[in-house]
Symmetry: C2
Subunit: 360 residues, 2 copies
Amino acid sequence: MSRAFNFGAGPAAIPLEVLEEAQKNLVDFNGEGLSIMEASHRSKMYDDVHTEALSLMRELYEIPEDYDILLLQGGASLQFAMVPLNLSLGGKAAYADTGSWSSKAIKEAKIQNIDFDIVASSKESSHNHIPENITFADDLDYAYITSNNTIYGTQYKSFPSTKSPLVVDASSDIFSYPVDWSKVDLMFAGAQKNAGPSGVTIVIIKKELLNRADESVPSMLKYKTHADNNSLYNTPPTFGIYMLSLILKWIKNSGGIKAIQKANEAKATLLYDAIDNSNGFYVGHAQKDSRSLMNVSFNIRDKDADLEAKLIKEATEAKMIGLKGHRSIGGLRASIYNAMTLEGVQALVDLMNKFADENR
Amino acid sequence: MSRAFNFGAGPAAIPLEVLEEAQKNLVDFNGEGLSIMEASHRSKMYDDVHTEALSLMRELYEIPEDYDILLLQGGASLQFAMVPLNLSLGGKAAYADTGSWSSKAIKEAKIQNIDFDIVASSKESSHNHIPENITFADDLDYAYITSNNTIYGTQYKSFPSTKSPLVVDASSDIFSYPVDWSKVDLMFAGAQKNAGPSGVTIVIIKKELLNRADESVPSMLKYKTHADNNSLYNTPPTFGIYMLSLILKWIKNSGGIKAIQKANEAKATLLYDAIDNSNGFYVGHAQKDSRSLMNVSFNIRDKDADLEAKLIKEATEAKMIGLKGHRSIGGLRASIYNAMTLEGVQALVDLMNKFADENR
């Protein structure tokens, strides 16, 4: 098989070793005579997987004991609604708007008629940076940020300090660097970028926030329901959680989150250097101090759509896929999540250098 | 490999051919160089799978054109909340309470403070039958039934007629018999019994019901959001939908839903005959006219827990698993969904006959 280098934004690349392990066990899980997909969520066979996913996550991500880890469904899009439903006490909330995902979260707060402010926005500059010195009041029901902006390729270098509970949508950079939990009260992420296949949503929540939801909130939308039932209130997405457990093992075998972070920095440096050293042929979308280590969005010269399409075509022919930028800013986007190899980034950089020479 | 006969209630057995096909393609999907799990939900590679799942379902299940098919997340448990959120117009609803799942649906209607009646209940007799002549008023916002009761092993033989929109929770018998769509306005099912791994929820809804939801309902909980976006409003559970597409192909290759129904009748007859011909050693929980073709719940004599445990142990040693009955009625439960083979049921019946002879 000729494996593609998958630069897609999500669902995204999964480590080859993880896929091979899943394949080996797909029909007959550890000699049990059935697939993990076929196992009851109340069976020991599945419970071992569930427990391992939770305990490995707590260990590797250094999640303090006063936080619960929930494994849910519905993606970040359902969290946009669950956050206000669970955290709003009828007071004020505040959002930082740094891209499409923040905007969608804000839309759901509006639908629920929550009182909130937008304390910072990068909208006027095509979301090409994380606003400096974002300040949240200390008496909010919650403060809300998106740690990494998949489309625009921007990322917080550190989280704002606030006495209000800080909610972080980490869908596109979970498990890619150690988290300072003293700053974060609720983190959530759809799994499909750094943590497995789509269909699993991770929520890491400070226990003291579990009791805020109104009685009228549906059981499935209350964090407390899932916390009280070890994420087994109803049938969880068992196969996705199995894949998550394999990915966490892969992170552990790779040396843990800090080693992953170091590898991510090396990959991103390689790619941003290629952009910066192209004499203006490639132009990064994000301001340098806001650059994401996960998504590298760039154009060719002054958005030369023909050349951009040509490069994407050449890349696809060389089995480098998923490089088309989001329609809102065009160009190219290389998503280089945890599972992307340095070899893959090197192959892309080699192609980009050659392409720039040939088309300058 | 020695494949187990999996009689578990869900997540449940998946046809071996389906698992083998998934295994073959798990790392490299049709030579594309990546797993279907890694493919963008906006890619042609995934779109083909998504489209095939939807079109096969419409074809095999003979779903009329004035119904939309939605592929969601959250299981039946989330549907218990979404049904009143989407269908209630502030008038009255009505539920038939035929077991645990109906009761949970009723609980969520209560949480939402919906005005509703319980028009029939089998609670007083341990839910051992489907009440006869269930009558729903004609001016309800909706009428609600659970077509098959997983725990108690009862099943509607035909759906009640009503002019009110009829909602059917078919989680444990979807795709097991042809549906008379003239009677059904909304059918939903978690996939993990007859339609794939857990994490996918199928909703088949009459289009005229899509516009009822209040503006204050979160986008992800509005059926219309998903109908308007071909179930791609956000990232769907792509791998689960791929598995669903394989299962639908398997149904087609097996001769379609009617052929599946015939096979199910043969399996159930074999097992119920073993119970009925045991001279009172085995006692079925459900009344004969309410017996489920999917879940066969039974006790040994007058709930002899020791003998029941002994039979479960002997079965497990013979690689027949998942036979422990639900704690609410004890005993044994053999779930014989579409994927259970006649060979598997025959093996169980042989063991049951032998066990009865040895322990009479």
